[in-house]
């Protein structure tokens, strides 16, 4: 990674804020449909994983925690998308 840990944390924060605004602009369009909602859910998954990995520092945590958090993210988001689409 480039720069100090603080610089990376700040870049992640700026990116998370940017995609939050993006998902809002996507989500409130009058033509919003299933594809847009799935895209908004996908953005939220990326956000959640960055919070877990970078802010919560799970990227440097033992393998069991890295795996467990990824299993949680995968299971929850699969359930959300499936329940939304069916």
């Amino acid at each position: 990674m480039n720069g100090t840990p603080g610089a990376r944390t700040t870049r992640v924060w700026a990116a998370l804020c940017a995609v939050t605004v993006l998902s809002w602009r996507l989500g409130t369009e009058r033509t919003a449909g299933a594809a847009v909602t799935v895209a908004v859910l996908a953005i939220a998954l990326v956000k959640a994983r960055f919070v877990v990995r970078c802010f919560m520092e799970v990227q440097d945590a033992p393998a069991w925690l890295r795996r467990l958090t990824d299993v949680w993210l995968a299971a929850l988001w699969t359930a959300l998308v499936v329940l939304y689409l069916v």
């Binding site: 939050t20 809002w24 847009v36 959640a48």
Partner: protein
């Protein structure tokens, strides 16, 4: 555990906090799934009720939470570097974002209730008050946790990085849960 392994993989903060965080994530996940099941039964009613909420206000509160998470993450790094005064200021910044979040949320609730949209106004608003309410309760506990971190950083004899890490882990969980609530309650069409 070897020194090499120690630097390669490290659990930030108290292991007990991680057990609590993982349990709480599972607990909220069940809520989220139940919400989706109910939404699937009456999507038109949920969509109609959801239009009363302001996504712009939800974006503002999301940015507040992300900013609080960023500041406490920097506070952990500052604490590790021995920059306790900086860590103290950053943690106080996180506390401020939490207080602002709660004020905005209280204003949102007051607005909705004053327009007749209460816990009894159908499934969507029942879930809205339930999810945001349980989340707000977690945030209130988070403010207490941040208070403990601030006290730790102020006392020259304490200043244990592990306490700052443990507080930060809890606060990030509050942020993480909100990311899901933001999408399900405010954005999903």
């Amino acid at each position: 555990m070897t020194a090499e392994r120690e630097t390669a993989a490290r659990l930030p903060g108290d292991p007990g906090m991680w057990v609590f965080v993982l349990g709480d994530l599972a607990f909220f996940s069940a809520y989220f799934v139940i919400f989706m099941v109910h939404r699937g039964r009456e999507p038109e009613l949920f969509a109609a009720a959801q239009r009363h909420l302001s996504p712009a206000v939800a974006v503002a509160t999301t940015l507040l939470l992300l900013t609080g998470s960023w500041l406490i993450a920097l506070a952990v790094q500052a604490s590790r570097a021995g920059e306790h005064r900086r860590a103290l200021r950053l943690t106080a910044g996180t506390l401020l974002t939490g207080v602002l979040f709660m004020l905005v949320k209280a204003g949102e609730w007051a607005w909705e209730a004053s327009h007749g949209r209460t816990f009894a106004s159908g499934d969507f608003f029942m879930f809205y008050y339930l999810l945001t309410g349980v989340h707000l309760f977690h945030m209130l506990l988070g403010l207490v946790v941040l208070g403990v971190v601030l006290r730790e950083l102020r006392a020259p004899g304490l200043r244990r990085t592990a306490v700052v890490e443990t507080g930060a882990t809890y606060w990030h969980m509050v942020d993480l849960l909100w990311i899901v609530i933001f999408v399900l309650v405010y954005l999903m069409r």
